[in-house]
């Protein structure tokens, strides 16, 4: 890899051992990716709040030790200077205010507060959500970013036209410290062209439909860039909302490895299918029909057999205000079944607006809760006694049964809220 004089100085230790380790990691990682050089980035999102899952392994809750070991991949604790790049904390292990609901002890909560404060001292924006693009971190078209969080990566590449690979904890931390990222993959024009055509024949209208289509597309294309077209996407539907694009991308990044998609007329980098394909023939074509939809819904519910629902999870990726409002309207003046919990997850900044708008009060009056900063899959928590859960998110339906060993149902937000009111998933 060709390094700039400034890179060489960082690597030589002119800016201290933390920056040197960060640049060394970017070089080794970039070499494996085939990058010929690094590129400047001033928009980095990572996950560096450490809870007991990590602290137990090291036997310390010292945030500097945890950052050096897990974020910088060092064996010793080093001094870390303020971060060079504009940096943002993604979703983390706990709700800063409602950790009691998660079963977290006061000691562990205090340790995570320390971990968060350590990041704030380095200059990290504590947006604490998997959807920074909903709360003020909106990269511009063409901006080179270094983001973790597969659902956010696919969103900013596809919907905003920003440029990022799917970074991990160690590489995003390295970019925070150096303001550099390997210039390869989705930073390059050639990698952003579609190679896989998806012909959508079955109508895709609702947010539930977009979740299902995304989950199916991920299975079909794996890590290829798909372009979507077909009669199922036109007509009465109009164009997908930002929420539907958020759910679609998150689902496709869960079942497969989709980091970018084109939806001509909606996403900014291609106005037509041929333009998305860069004038080439697609390497593969997949057809989405009624059978594909039904099989995908069955696959999303594959872990579920019991219809008594203990827990309903809404807000993966973190819910927009419109999604929180929909839950509030569905719950208004009603009461959850005694045996069922319903938790809505939304970015903290949106929670503040939801409180002001009366949505949080309506939700809590029904016996449900609104949480921020975390989710059951990331924080690995559930309401006590949960065996069966339901969600409106294909991504959460994919991950939570694997991570927590529970059964999972998938359906529309209305079906999920109704299940929380009835305590039961509707019969087929």
């Amino acid at each position: 890899m060709q390094l700039s004089p400034a890179d060489e100085r960082m690597l030589a230790g002119d800016h201290g051992p933390a920056v040197a380790a960060a640049l060394d990691l970017l070089v080794r990682y970039g070499d494996l990716m085939g990058a010929e050089r690094l590129v400047d980035t001033d928009n980095v999102c990572g996950a560096n709040i450490f809870g007991p899952r990590h602290a137990r392994v090291l036997g310390t809750t010292d945030p500097a030790a945890l950052f050096s070991r897990f974020s910088l991949d060092l064996d010793a604790t080093v001094d870390v200077p303020p971060f060079r790049a504009h940096s943002c904390q993604l979703i983390g292990p706990r709700d800063r205010d409602r950790w009691d609901l998660q079963g977290i002890t006061p000691d562990d909560a205090a340790a995570m507060d320390d971990s968060e404060r350590y990041l704030a001292e380095k200059g990290v924006d504590l947006l604490s959500t998997c959807t920074p693009y909903q709360v003020g971190n909106v990269p511009r078209y063409g901006e080179h970013c270094a983001w973790m969080e597969s659902s956010a990566v696919v969103y900013i590449n596809s919907v905003l036209g920003a440029r990022t690979n799917t970074e991990g904890r160690e590489s995003s931390a390295a970019s925070m410290l150096t303001g550099r990222t390997p210039y390869c993959g989705y930073h390059l024009d050639a990698h952003r062209r579609a190679t896989h055509l998806v012909d959508v024949r079955h109508p895709v209208r609702t947010t539930e439909d977009w979740n299902v289509l995304g989950y199916w597309v991920g299975r079909q294309v794996q890590d290829a860039v798909p372009v979507l077209t077909g009669p199922g996407l036109t007509g009465a539907t109009g164009v997908p909302t930002p929420v539907q694009l958020k759910q679609f991308g998150a689902a496709a990044a869960s079942s497969g490895d989709v980091e970018m998609f084109h939806l001509p007329g909606v996403t900014p980098e291609a106005r037509t299918v041929p333009e998305a394909l860069g004038g080439r023939e697609p390497a593969a074509v997949s057809v989405y029909d009624a059978g594909a939809r039904a099989a995908t819904v069955a696959s999303l519910c594959r872990t579920a057999t019991d219809r008594d629902v203990d827990f309903v999870m809404i807000g993966c990726p973190h819910a927009s205000l419109e999604q929180v409002r929909e839950v509030a309207r569905l719950l208004e003046g009603r009461r959850l079944a005694d045996s069922t919990a319903l938790w809505v997850f939304t970015p903290r900044a949106l929670r503040t607006v939801a409180e002001r708008s009366g949505y949080v009060a309506a939700i809590e009056k029904a016996g449900a809760r609104v949480l921020s900063d975390t989710c059951p899959a990331i924080g690995q928590f559930l309401p006590p006694g949960t065996r069966v859960f339901a969600t409106d998110s294909a991504k959460q339906a994919h991950y939570l049964p694997a991570i927590m060993g529970v059964q999972g149902w998938f359906g529309s937000v209305r079906t999920c809220v109704t299940a929380a009111l009835d305590g039961r998933w509707p019969d087929a």
Partner: protein, 135 residues
Amino acid sequence: MPELLRGRGVVAGRASGPALVCTAPVSGWGGIDPATGTIVENGHPQHGRSVAGTVLVVPGAKGSSGWSGQFHLAKLLGTAPLAIVFGHMNSKLALGLAVLRVPAVTGLATAGAIRTGDGLEVDGTAGTVLIRREG
């Protein structure tokens, strides 16, 4: 008879261990339990098998951006694979290899010859995999 497969070395170094052949890409976060190395992704063909102490033979990495973080945790808990033989590189696998620092080889034309349980000697410097099969 030992069988020598030739590919391309990606991370230098040598390691030996029993093969775990995965027929689908592996997820990290939400894909393995770092406490035991067990593959936990529902519907994965090798669901329930453990990557701990194996030579992981895998088409590639997929899923959450927590891939490297989860395998990093596995490394510190002693449940990581000893070497990786893979088909397809992406950012998740590249960062995972940079953090795991275990030998890695790709580009074996005859990777299908490897079966789970085979004793493998991976040489990431030479880009070779030696199969030692009992019986």
